[in-house]
């Protein structure tokens, strides 16, 4: 229990619930079922340019997933450190979509609120989505200001010289561009919310079979 209380905003989630969320996420990945083919060869870890900074290596992610320790994966730094360079996916001898699986794990962690609001990647993604939903396009200046204000306000001062240089070179604009059809984006978002609500039953069952979970319990 202590372990669980360490992260603020965490819910006491059972392995079962987490598994269900993850399987719902992973079934949309084309070839997501190949996860059951993993040989534990470690090519992914060896190819990853950032595995040295991870607490759980990509190979171990799959091992832990099989061992039913999904919560451990979700609480690790690993899924957030992945920079989506797809080197592991390219080299995997079993053609497992490791990067896409890590995306599914990120979404599971966010869905289950396993991370505090101010966690860097979560915070950046949230703000990014906020800006895109509002203007239709991203604004780098606005994104960084919003992010650092909540994350590390003093970092903004450190970045100021760089920001000013960018402005001087005409490479930054203080005002975001709004697309003409922002309304269309809003409508699409509303439509997707309506689609999300009735979670189709039976899907997770199918996925369980798909990734070979049945065999490991």
């Amino acid at each position: 229990m202590n372990d669980r209380n360490r992260v603020p905003g965490a819910l006491p989630l059972t392995e079962r619930e987490l598994r269900r969320t993850f399987l719902e996420q992973v079934q949309f990945v084309p070839g997501g079922d190949r996860i059951k083919r993993c040989l534990q060869c470690g090519t992914c870890t060896g190819s990853c340019p950032v595995s040295y900074a991870m607490d759980i290596s990509p190979r171990m992610v799959i091992a832990l997933f099989r061992a039913g320790e999904i919560e451990k994966i979700l609480r690790s730094r690993t899924i957030w450190i992945c920079a989506s360079c797809y080197m592991c996916t390219t080299r995997c001898p079993q053609a497992i979509k490791i990067t896409d699986i890590l995306y599914a794990l990120k979404r599971t962690a966010m869905d289950s609120h396993l991370y505090p609001d101010r966690f860097p990647v979560y915070l950046l993604s949230r703000n990014f989505i906020h800006i895109v939903n509002r203007y239709g396009r991203n604004s780098e200046v606005l994104l960084l200001i919003r992010y650092y204000l909540r994350q590390k306000p003093f970092e903004l001062l450190r970045l100021l010289p760089l920001g000013l240089r960018m402005l001087r070179k005409g490479r930054a604009s203080l005002f975001p561009t709004r697309i003409k059809e922002v309304k269309a984006i809003r409508k699409m978002l509303d439509a997707s919310k309506a689609l999300e609500l009735p979670r189709e039953k039976g899907q997770a069952e199918y996925a369980e079979e798909m990734v070979g979970y049945r065999a490991v319990g």
């Binding site: 993604s125 239709g136 780098e140 490479r171």
Partner: protein
């Protein structure tokens, strides 16, 4: 030939020189670029990590708009946009259930998408549609004396098997070698620059950037030529921080491949947005004169 063009958010602001030089190069080669009207953000990797269906729908809106405008090819110069748009196509093609969901969302915006748009990278278009031979005939000056490190970054060659090898691409090398430049041995050409990690976990990203700079400089490159806005900004704007952190003294120009190509095609410095780069190009690459070229050749001999 005419192409539909999806600039992406970075090319509007932090990588304006990429946009300017791309347009200049296409103009110089007699190709027409039409900007996709009212395009929106592709969603990048960040939208995807929160909500997959919505991020695919938002990115598919651009593809639907491209179709509405009657084009089959859409040029996306930013590596992130390129990968995300390709990924959208693949996910929708391979997953009918997801396609049905996205269709319903798109219908709300009065759009529909029939999966027929091809996403192209400008490097692919220039080398495979126009051709290296034609470009070299159109070149106004030789790039002789230019020693560069071809840096492709990760997302234009992966995860899909696209127009080049996924670990050792050579398109850019071939193109510029034909124009007289020399590419250095550069095994990190598709190594990740860290991308958004520079904001979220700067220590990790700085190490990655340092590895790439080390490799380019040790192998004698005068400049790094890249295809990705994220790579360009990480490698160029954060050189000072790398220097401070690792006690190095790097000051190597990082330019977009369209800028280097534009120099060969005789475009002006303004047209190519070269004044927007933080680290100015050295003499052999200067757009003003070509008599400096000989001097730099010596440097090359010394290195080899």
């Amino acid at each position: 030939m005419e192409y539909l063009y999806y600039p992406g958010c970075s090319l509007e602001t932090s990588s304006r020189q990429y946009d300017e030089s791309l347009r200049a190069v296409f103009r110089a080669l007699g190709l027409k670029l039409t900007e996709l009207p009212d395009w929106n953000c592709c969603g990048a990797t960040m939208y995807m990590s929160v909500d997959e269906t919505v991020s695919l729908a938002i990115s598919a809106r651009n593809l639907a708009l491209a179709r509405q405008n009657g084009f089959g090819d859409l040029i996306a110069p930013c590596s992130a946009c390129y990968t995300v748009l390709l990924k959208t196509n693949r996910f929708l093609r391979e997953n009918p259930e997801l396609k049905a969901k996205v269709d319903r969302i798109l219908a709300e915006a009065g759009l529909s998408y029939d999966l027929t748009v091809n996403i192209r990278h400008p490097l692919d278009v220039l080398v495979n549609d126009v051709g290296v031979e034609v470009i070299s005939l159109a070149a106004k000056r030789s790039l002789e004396g230019v020693i560069f490190a071809p840096y492709y970054g990760c997302q234009i060659v992966r995860p899909e098997r696209g127009f080049d090898d996924r670990e050792f691409p050579t398109t850019m090398d071939t193109l510029f070698e034909k124009l007289g430049a020399v590419s250095v041995y550069f095994p990190l050409k598709t190594r990740c620059c860290g991308g958004m990690l520079m904001t979220t976990f700067p220590d990790v990203a700085l190490q990655l950037v340092k590895d790439i700079l080390d490799c380019a400089v040790e192998n004698g490159a005068q400049c790094i030529v890249t295809t990705c806005p994220m790579c360009q900004i990480n490698l160029e704007a954060y050189q000072n921080r790398v220097n401070k952190k690792f006690q190095t003294s790097y000051r190597i120009p990082v330019i977009f491949f369209t800028q280097l190509l534009g120099i060969a095609l005789g475009c002006s410095e303004r047209e190519l947005g070269l004044q927007r780069n933080f680290i100015p190009l050295g003499e052999p690459l200067s757009t003003k004169s070509s008599f400096q070229v000989k001097e730099s050749r010596q440097t090359r001999d010394e290195i080899c």
